[in-house]
């Protein structure tokens, strides 16, 4: 083979090897770090897995927010306004735009009694903006 061809072959092999490796690693990392989103209906109905990191969302029910007397624990109820509702417990600061009657996303795990233990609570940052996951649910506000 001429040096030119040799170099081209090396380049092609390098690219093939590199992109193959990249794709493999990317797919592996994706598998590990993807959170599935579940609507309240699926959380209640049992489609959502127990003790696995998932995302869920819904409207915070009016008058459902309860602060524990000590510490930063809170609990509230998320609903889809169509009858499915589940309890969320969270320890930490709620985001500034968290409000009853508004949509929020929670990230965390369900326990066996289908209570959602949230690690993160995300609220909308703007009243015109609705997380796409919640768009189908309609809103009171």
């Amino acid at each position: 083979m001429s040096p030119l061809r040799k170099q081209r072959l090396a380049a092609v092999l390098f690219i093939l090897f590199g992109s193959g490796l990249t794709i493999g690693v990317v797919l592996f990392a994706l598998q590990e770090n993807v959170d599935l989103f579940y609507e309240p209906q699926k959380v209640v109905g049992g489609d959502a897995p127990i003790a696995k990191r998932i995302r869920a969302g819904g409207m915070v029910e009016k008058d459902s927010l309860v602060y524990e007397p000590e510490g930063l624990g809170v609990s509230f109820v998320l609903s889809d306004l169509r009858g499915s509702r589940f309890e969320v417990r969270y320890k930490g600061l709620l985001p500034g735009l968290f409000r009853e009657g508004q949509g929020v996303l929670v990230v965390g795990q369900l326990d066996t009694s289908r209570v959602f233990y949230a690690k993160e609570v995300l609220a909308k940052h703007d009243e015109n903006y609705m997380p796409p996951e919640l768009v189908g649910m309609g809103s009171e506000s």
Binding site: Q7, D35, R55, L72, P132
Partner: protein, 674 residues
Amino acid sequence: MTTSTSDVLTAKYESLDATLGTLWGAGPEIGHLAAIIGLVAAIVLSVLGHVGAATRRRSWVENSGSFAVLQLITLVVAFVLLVHAFLKDDYSVVYVVSNSNALLPWYYKVSAVWGAHEGSFLLWTLIMAGWTFAVAMIGRRLPYQIYGRVLGTLGLLNTGFLLFLLQTSNPFLRLVPNVPTVGADLNPLLQDFGLIVHPPLLYAGYVGFSVAFAFGVAGLISGRLDATWARWTRPWTNVAWAFLTVGITLGSWWAYYELGWGGWWFWDPVENASFMPWLAGTALIHSLAVTEKRSAFRSWTVLLTILTFSLCLLGAFIVRSGVLTSVHAFAVDPERGVFLLVLLGVTVGGSLALYAIRVPAIRGRIAYMGLSRELFLLINNALFVVAVAVVLVGTLYPLAYEAVTGGDKISVGPPYFNRLFVPLMGLLAVFLALVPVARWKRTPIRLFRQVCWLLLASMLVGAVFFVVAIMSDRVLNIGSIVGVVIAVTLALWLLLSHSVDFIQRKGARPLGYLGMLLAHIGFAVGAVGVATTSVFSHETEVRLSPGDTVELNARQYHFVSVTTVNGPNYIAQRAKFDVGGISLYPEKRNYLARDSVMTEAGIEPGFFQDLYIALGEPLPDGSWGVRIQEKVLVRWVWCGGLLVCFGGLLAVMDGRYRRLALRRDGLATAVKAA
């Protein structure tokens, strides 16, 4: 919402009536008209530039510059009139009433112009016109076919952008006859110094890559992608890249102090949207170096100009169509999404088709792939392209997943990005440290010996650092300490190898070289900041009443009091915390017009650490949820970004670009004289 010119004219007369014929009253209509004239100028510019170059009509090309001027003037007029509508609280304009309020301080009224979709896109087209104008002025010495095609391509792009603006996002739209009396106010998150400067700088970067793209297209059509072409393209690319760098850095800083989490990067889709063009742009400026110096990588470089700008357009699509979950996204509007997707498709498809047709004709010179500087720059490009792919997949995977599964929604978390990105950057740092010794064509092995000693020295320092970190009584996971130690060692190695090269270098040290050093050292500084702040920062969330004290990392935080403070358009609960000899004042603000609550963190910035206190919500018994953080070396993250930006700008000022302009000037004069 389509508005035809006749509608505009009708509205114009109505408003003239209503405002007793004062000229200012018709400001929005004049602004709209100006934008339309700007569109016409862009169309004429594209025709004169491209057709003039293709049919060898030199005069057409030479006259196209005046339309670049006209385009800039009309868009400045349109923009100023929109600013004026904001300053005068002209609530008959839909965009003003939805994003401003009489109580807003004047500087936020001005920045509210680019606080939402329509106005920010007007700014986008204005900046586009600004770049076009700059190319038209500075690029006069280019061969006229290149000049015409570059300007023509820029004109085509702004034609698309202005059509999008006028068709789907007209900021001058009136709401008559029932004019509201109260403005809905600017999103409180955006009422901040960061928002005044962040978007214009970011857009300057985004849009600036259109110049590199235009040079790529012009080079492809003309079949001219040689070292001279690279030398023309490089300064423009560097400036755009520097703008994007500082824009992203400022955005990160803004998120840090405004969102109240103390985080500075969230791998949010919109952040990724700006990060992808930056990564591709970084590959591009390095690839351009090889094309300029060695005439190699030509077809790859021109492909990168297309890729980089396509990622800018993809970013605009992600942000403005609302297809992805993001805290930054503008309101969802399918019509805009479709329009932008078409724009993206035409630009990417057209330029790639052109590439496919023309590139076989471009003969590159074979690069020396021994242990050479070419090889290092190739590795740089490979790593950055992989980084782009990683971010792209992570950003778009939720969309693809939803489409494939028929509606199942997922999100890709930061761990995905961190796990892939951190090793990539580590690998990059290794090669970066070797850069100063690498020579074009072939590097004598002996040059590597010294740099190996430097590595050894850095590793010694790293080992000491490791022991100190382990001995300190904090419970830390060994893995993350090892991570920081590796980062610090590599950063130190990089710093040493670059410094030693600077000292030992014989002969001149041109600005291009100094810019390279500065940017690489900026990378090292940023890497140390990122690694250290992620691992060594302290954080606690507690429930505190005024009078309470809490300890974090041997520091006493005393919660003194909460008082109510009235701002111009908000009421704040301002807490006072005493820490050592200093006081911090975090606030919880209620912005009245939107009744929305914002956190204003109290920050004591420092070179080595920031003290950061953010208030949560008031609890029923009068106590507060409080987040207290010590962010170690967090400022280094942004210092690094700024150094990188300055490095890029310094390289642009290198004498050889000016010499090039002068030489062409001299040539032209000589020809004229003859």
